[in-house]
C-alpha cells in the first residue's frame, strides 16, 4: 500500500485497502473557520429541529477553529459571524479557538502546521477546500462541505472512497530562483485543473527530500486546484524536527510500502524547472515567466496559505532588500507567529523600507473578501492559489499567480519579472 492507503486502512480498522474501496474512517482532527463554521452551526440548527441530538460533539479536543476569511471584520455581518463562532466554541467546550487579536491566530491551513495541530498519519478534515495543504506533514488531509463537517463533529467518522494515487517525482533540487509554487503550477499546467479529480497527488523523489517542510506545504496546498482529494508527502526527519520544535510529541511516521502502487508516475528534473506564472483566468493557464505577456501591473500581493509562510516572506525579502517597489505591494503574513518572526528577523523593515505595506494575517484579498480587493481592469500578481474571474475583486480584474520571488521581482519593475532579470 502507498502512504494514503495505509493511513486510510488504519483509520478504518482494515488490514488493507485498495483504490475504489469505500471505507468508514475515524477522523483524528477537524477544523472549521469563520465561513464554514457559521454554515455548520446552521446545519446543527436544522438537525436539532429534526430531533437529532446535537448537544455534544464527539470530541471537542480534536476540533479547532480559525478566524481567517473575514477578519478583521469588514462589516457587521462578518462581526456577527465571529460572535456566533465564539458562542459555539464556548458552548461545546472547544478550547482551540484561535481568535483574531488574541495572540496566535492566522489562516487555518497555516495554523495546522505552525501550531503542530495535525500529525503524520492523522486523518484530518476541514471545512475548506485547501485543507489538502496539511498533507505535507504526511497526513491524509482533505476538505469537506458544511454538512459533512457537521457530521464529523457529531460522529468522529466519515465515509471516503479510497483514491487512486498520482505520483509526482522530482529528481534533484530546484534551482535557487525556482520555488515549490513554480513546480506545482507547472504540474497543474501539465495535468489540468481536473487532472487530479478525486485522486491523491503524492510528491516524492530526491528533489522533494531536499525540500523544506514549508515548500512541501505549498505543493500540497495547490493540489486542490488540480481537483485532488488530497496531496501528500511521505514524512521524514524534517517533518519530525519541524513539528517537535512546535511542541508536538509522540510522532510516529506512516510511509508507503516498497511495493506501493500508483496509478501513474510523472517525472520532473529539478534543474529544468523555470519560474512560472498562471495567467488569468485559470491556474492551469501557465507560462514561463520570461515568456509571460508584458502587462502593466497595478499590484503585487504576497499573502494567503499558499504564499505567506515564513519562507515565502524570506524569498520576497531577498528580492526587496535595498530595492523600491514600483506598484502597490501588500504583504500579509499568514499567521501571527510568522509575523513575529518576520519582525524579529528584520523582514518587516525590509518590506517597509522598500515601500510595501504589511497587513495583519487574514485570507483577505486572496478570496476577494476585503483588505485590498481589485478594481475593474486592475491587474495583480499574487502568491495566492486561484485566479478565476472576480476571485480577488471585480469580475473584470485579472490575477497572475506566481511564487513570492516572482511577485516581489514584479513589484520592483511593475511588470511580470523573472527574479534573475533584476539589476
Amino acid at each position: 500500500m502507498n502512504i494514503t492507503e495505509k493511513i486510510l486502512a488504519r483509520a478504518s480498522g482494515r488490514p488493507r485497502v485498495t483504490p475504489g474501496d469505500v471505507i468508514f474512517a475515524n477522523v483524528d482532527k477537524v477544523m472549521m473557520h469563520d465561513v464554514s463554521g457559521p454554515g455548520v452551526i446552521k446545519v446543527f440548527d436544522k438537525l436539532k429541529k429534526q430531533g437529532v441530538n446535537v448537544d455534544k460533539l464527539w470530541d471537542p479536543t480534536k476540533v479547532w477553529v480559525a478566524e481567517d476569511h473575514f477578519v478583521p471584520s469588514p462589516d457587521k455581518v462578518s462581526a456577527e459571524n465571529i460572535v456566533k463562532l465564539s458562542n459555539f466554541t464556548k458552548n461545546y467546550g472547544i478550547e482551540k479557538h484561535f481568535k483574531y487579536g488574541m495572540g496566535q491566530y492566522g489562516i487555518c491551513h497555516t495554523l495546522s502546521h505552525e501550531e503542530a495541530l495535525v500529525l503524520p498519519g492523522d486523518v484530518y478534515v476541514g471545512g475548506d477546500s485547501h485543507t489538502n495543504t496539511t498533507g505535507a506533514l504526511g497526513s491524509f488531509a482533505c476538505g469537506l462541505g458544511h454538512t459533512d463537517v457537521a457530521y464529523v463533529l457529531l460522529n468522529g467518522k466519515i465515509w471516503f472512497k479510497v483514491p487512486e494515487t498520482l505520483y509526482f517525482k522530482l529528481n534533484g533540487k530546484l534551482p535557487e530562483h525556482v520555488m515549490a509554487k513554480d513546480f506545482i503550477l507547472k504540474i497543474i499546467g501539465d495535468i489540468s485543473t481536473e487532472g487530479g479529480a478525486y485522486k491523491t497527488m503524492q510528491f516524492g523523489g530526491s528533489g522533494i527530500n531536499e525540500m523544506s517542510v514549508e515548500s512541501r506545504l505549498t505543493l500540497c496546498n495547490m493540489t486542490t486546484e488540480a481537483g485532488a482529494k488530497n496531496g501528500i508527502v511521505e514524512p521524514d526527519q524534517k517533518v519530525i524536527d519541524y513539528l517537535t520544535s512546535r511542541g508536538a510529541t509522540n510522532i510516529s511516521l506512516v510511509v508507503g510500502d516498497d511495493d506501493a502502487e500508483y496509478e501513474k508516475i510523472y517525472e520532473y528534473e529539478g534543474s529544468e524547472m523555470e519560474p512560472i506564472v498562471a495567467k488569468p483566468f485559470s491556474p492551469e493557464n501557465i507560462s514561463i515567466v520570461r515568456e509571460a505577456p508584458s502587462v502593466e501591473l497595478d499590484k503585487s500581493y504576497i499573502g494567503s496559505c499558499t504564499g505567506a509562510k515564513y519562507e515565502d516572506l524570506q524569498a520576497a525579502a531577498k528580492i526587496l532588500k535595498g530595492r523600491k517597489v514600483k506598484i502597490r505591494t501588500e504583504i500579509l503574513p499568514a499567521s501571527i507567529s510568522i509575523y513575529k518572526r518576520a519582525m524579529e528577523n528584520g523582514l518587516l523593515k525590509i518590506f517597509l523600507d522598500a515601500g510595501a505595506t504589511v497587513g495583519p494575517p487574514t485570507c483577505g484579498a486572496c478570496c476577494g473578501a476585503h483588505m485590498g480587493v481589485l478594481a475593474k481592469d486592475e491587474i495583480c500578481i499574487s502568491t495566492t492559489n486561484r485566479n478565476f474571474p472576480g476571485r480577488m475583486g471585480h469580475v473584470d480584474s485579472q490575477t497572475y499567480l506566481s511564487s513570492p520571488l516572482v511577485a516581489a521581482a514584479s513589484a520592483v519593475t511593475g511588470k511580470i519579472t523573472d527574479p534573475r532579470d533584476l539589476n
Binding site: 477546500s129 469537506l144 462541505g145 458544511h146 454538512t147 457530521y151 478525486y198 485559470s282 478565476f388
Partner: protein, 194 residues
Amino acid sequence: MQSFKKIKTIITPLDKVNVDTDQIVPKQFLKLVQKSGFGKFLFYNWRYDDQEHLKSDFILNDPTYKNSKILVAGDNFGCGSSREHAVWALQDYGFSVIIAPSFADIFYSNCFKNGILPIMLDDKIVEKLQQETGEIEVDLENQIIKTISEKISFDIDSHKKKILLEGLDDISQTLLYEKEISEFEKHSKIPSVL
C-alpha cells in the same frame, strides 16, 4: 431534506467548462448563512451588471428558461472552494438536477446533502442534451433520462441514490444505524503499527 424522484422540465444549457464556485456564488455573499435566499446571488456576476440590472445576454435571464429545473453544463462543474453556499444557491434558484461530463469532488458530494441530483454523462451526450429544446424527464428510480427521441441511462452510487429518493441526509441516515455501528466498533481491531 426534500426527496427527489422524478422531474420533467426543459433544460438550461450553460455552455461553459470549469464553472467554479466563485462564479456560482461570489465571495461577498459567503458571510450570509441562511440556507434560503441564495438563489438571487446565483451566477451573480454573469446575471447582473455593475448597476445590478439583469444582463440580457445571460441564459438564466432569458424568460424561456424560467421554469427549467435542469442545468446542463460543461466539464469540472463546481470546482474551487468547498463553499456549500454554491449548492444552496442552485437549489434556491430552482435547479434540482445538474448534468455535466464531470464535477469537482466536494461540490458533487455537497449536492447530495441538499437534495440536488448531479448526473455525470459522456461529453458527447452532454453536448447533445444542451441542444435539447423540449422537456426532458429525469427519473432517478430507473436511472433514465428521457428526451423526445431517446432514453439515456446514467450511473449513480446506490447509497447516494437512496439518500435522494428518501430525502435523508447522511447524518439522519447513519444515526438510524447507531446501535449497529457501536457494535461493529467494539469488534474492530485497529492495527497499532503499520
